[in-house]
């Protein structure tokens, strides 16, 4: 766990910003360069980076992080309904409310650690999900989900803008937040969120979190009160999820309870583990891969497969399509599951962990051969 210097930090951020902002270009060959999917990459990237601040640094595995995603979305949509279609207040409300929720859930759940902590967070998530479906219908609009309506209050917008025909669109001071502008808005926030995560990881606070993961008993006898450290990490990571939730509403202004379901909580765990727990880039990579699979693989159907393999003779074509078809379309989860198993078994450190291991081996080999050359010359 090496920390990096100020210069290295700057270089890393510059490279990162370029990679993220140029995604619409370099993702073209992968067939993923369309705004809807790009937005998802950025949003779920933020979600996973935030999740990693809790899980990666402290080792506390929350199984209910989707709650904060849902709270962020609801808060953002309410901001659209009550105040203005401008996205800035929506994002602020999303982060604020998920922070409050994280404070409450964290206060109770962090009394326990390990599997009991995970179960507590899962229980809270399911509770929130069911409440959103039933008792809280006045706030969440239950099964239908919270949507914009023509006669919404929009107090601030009402002062300045004449209500037009049809539903208003989310905007950033007039710039519409759908399509590419929406992606760039999310991308800029992703870059900022990533930078904050980088700073946290390399701060004394971050080191304390890693030490809590490593040996909590020693932390106590070293004079650290671990509760406020864990509480802060939990709240920060909840607020990241809230930001992601708010951005989901920014790009598509509706919020439904299913966003809080346990499968959504599980997804972010998968993303983080797939990419590499505790690494900076791993969760991003995991989020990107899963969203890519979800969108690309699930869109393949039998007809499309027939076409792809049409160069083969008919019988062979049918055979190949028969073998592949369960793994694409509705069955893309099968591919994801297989990939996940392969990574857990062969690369326990996730994709980034695997790459780091190969790189270290390469450096070692090169070092050894350089030494040999030194001896022979």
């Amino acid at each position: 766990m090496d920390t990096i210097s100020r210069k290295g930090e700057l270089r890393m951020m510059a490279l990162f910003a370029v990679i993220v902002l140029l995604m619409p270009i370099w993702l073209i060959p992968f067939g993923a360069a369309y705004p809807d999917l790009l937005q998802k990459f950025a949003i779920f990237g933020i979600f996973a980076v935030g999740f990693n601040i809790l899980f990666g640094l402290t080792g506390y595995l929350s199984f209910g992080h989707a709650v904060f995603l849902g709270v962020g979305s609801y808060a953002a949509v309410w901001s659209f309904k009550l105040f203005t279609m401008n996205v800035i207040p929506a994002v602020i409300f999303g982060v604020l409310f998920s922070g409050i929720f994280a404070a409450v859930i964290g206060f109770v759940s962090l009394r326990r650690s390990g599997i009991y902590f995970s179960i507590l967070t899962l229980a809270f998530a399911q509770m929130s999900y069911n409440l959103a479906y039933s008792v809280l219908t006045p706030i969440t609009n239950g099964e239908t989900g919270l949507q914009l309506r023509l006669h919404d209050l929009r107090m601030i917008d009402g002062l300045f803008i004449e209500a037009g025909e049809g539903l208003p669109l989310t905007n950033l001071f007039g710039i519409k937040m759908s399509g590419y502008p929406g992606f760039y808005f999310c991308a800029v926030l992703l870059i900022l969120a990533f930078y904050l995560a980088l700073r946290i990881t390399n701060s004394p606070f971050g080191m304390a979190l890693k030490a809590i993961k490593s040996n909590q008993l020693r932390m106590g006898y070293t004079g650290f009160n671990t509760r406020p450290y864990l509480m802060s990490a939990f709240m920060i990571s909840g607020m990241y999820a809230g930001l992601a939730g708010a951005l989901l509403a920014v790009t598509d202004p509706l919020a439904g309870a299913e966003r809080m379901q346990w499968t959504a909580s599980g997804e972010v765990v998968l993303m983080t583990i797939l990419g590499g727990v505790g690494t900076l880039f791993g969760p991003l990579l995991g989020a990107g891969l899963i969203k890519y699979f979800e969108n690309i693989f699930s869109s393949y159907n039998d007809a499309l497969l027939q076409e792809t393999f049409s160069f083969l003779p008919d019988m062979l074509n049918n055979l190949v399509v028969g073998i592949i078809s369960p793994f694409v379309g509705d069955g893309w989860h099968l591919t994801l599951g297989g990939l996940f198993m392969v990574i857990i078994i062969f690369l326990p450190g996730g994709i980034v962990g695997g790459i780091t291991m190969l790189w270290r081996r390469y450096i070692k080999k090169r070092g050894a051969s350089a030494e040999l050359e030194g001896e022979t010359s």
Binding site: S5, R199, N202, M207, Y221, G223, F224, N225, S232
Partner: protein, 252 residues
């Protein structure tokens, strides 16, 4: 001389077992007190009472006149008590430098400090302090290694460095040489002697007579939860009660 640790009238009962029976002891500044006794005599219970892990049924534990009973481990550490465990408790996944920087940060910043965006790299004072202590304990060449890869003896030395970087007022050691080879034991004794010369107040719980007699200024012998003897190493060596309860076994 001021009294650093004052244990008076401490009783602790586990079900039918009187683990500690009216224990009184005082540790003066700069003194090394050794607590010895056969297995099950209550040595570890006594230490756990001193650091707040166990609450005694009655009696008081005072550190510089302030009670330690009912306090959290981190509060006791912040008050100036550092502890070395029977099996070294370090941060195995972090490197040696980080292992020593963390206690130094706790000493400077207190029990909680929300410095999420300052850079650990720019904590030059903390870093050089940590390097000094690593050097003193002969671990400077390994400062980039993960602490989990160290040998048992080195882990113990690292743990001592972690405790001493905080400049504690009292150092508690629970069997610091348990499970060590003769060679590691000897280097640890040398190290503890050096620490003693710096004027550190220490309480040691130990089985190994060589360690006890070469380090302690004062020895307290526990048997069945009660103090049966106390005095200088020479007095203890010649005390018939002690020989019967403890040393006798070894002389057979």
């Amino acid at each position: 001389m001021t009294t650093v640790l004052n244990v008076s009238g401490v009783n602790k009962r586990f079900g039918g077992l009187q683990a500690l029976d009216n224990v009184n002891l005082k540790v003066e500044e700069g003194q090394t007190l050794a607590i010895i006794g056969p297995n099950g005599a209550g040595k570890s219970t006594l230490l756990n009472v001193c650091i707040g892990r166990l609450t005694p049924d009655s009696g008081s534990v005072e550190f510089h006149g302030e009670t330690l009973i009912g306090k959290q481990p981190y509060e006791i550490n912040q008050a100036g008590v550092a502890r070395v465990f029977q099996t070294p408790e370090i941060f195995p996944e972090l490197n040696l430098l980080e292992n020593v920087m963390i206690p130094a940060l706790s000493k400077r910043n207190g029990a909680f400090h929300f410095n999420i965006i300052s850079r650990i790299r720019e904590e030059k004072q903390i870093e050089s302090d940590a390097i000094n202590y690593l050097t003193e304990f002969g671990l400077q060449d390994q400062s980039d290694n993960e602490a989990g890869t160290l040998s048992r003896g080195d882990k113990r030395r690292l743990e001592l460095a972690m405790c001493l970087v905080q400049k504690p007022k009292l150092l508690l050691l629970d069997e610091p040489t348990a499970g060590m080879s003769r060679h590691d034991t000897n280097t640890t004794i040398e190290l503890l002697k050096k620490i003693k010369e710096s004027g550190m107040t220490k309480v040691i719980i130990e089985h190994d007579m060589q360690v006890v007699f070469s380090l302690a200024d004062k020895i307290v012998v526990l048997a069945q939860g009660a103090i049966i003897a106390g005095g200088t190493p020479d007095e203890i060596r010649n005390d018939p009660k002690v020989q019967e309860a403890y040393l006798g076994e070894e002389q057979v």
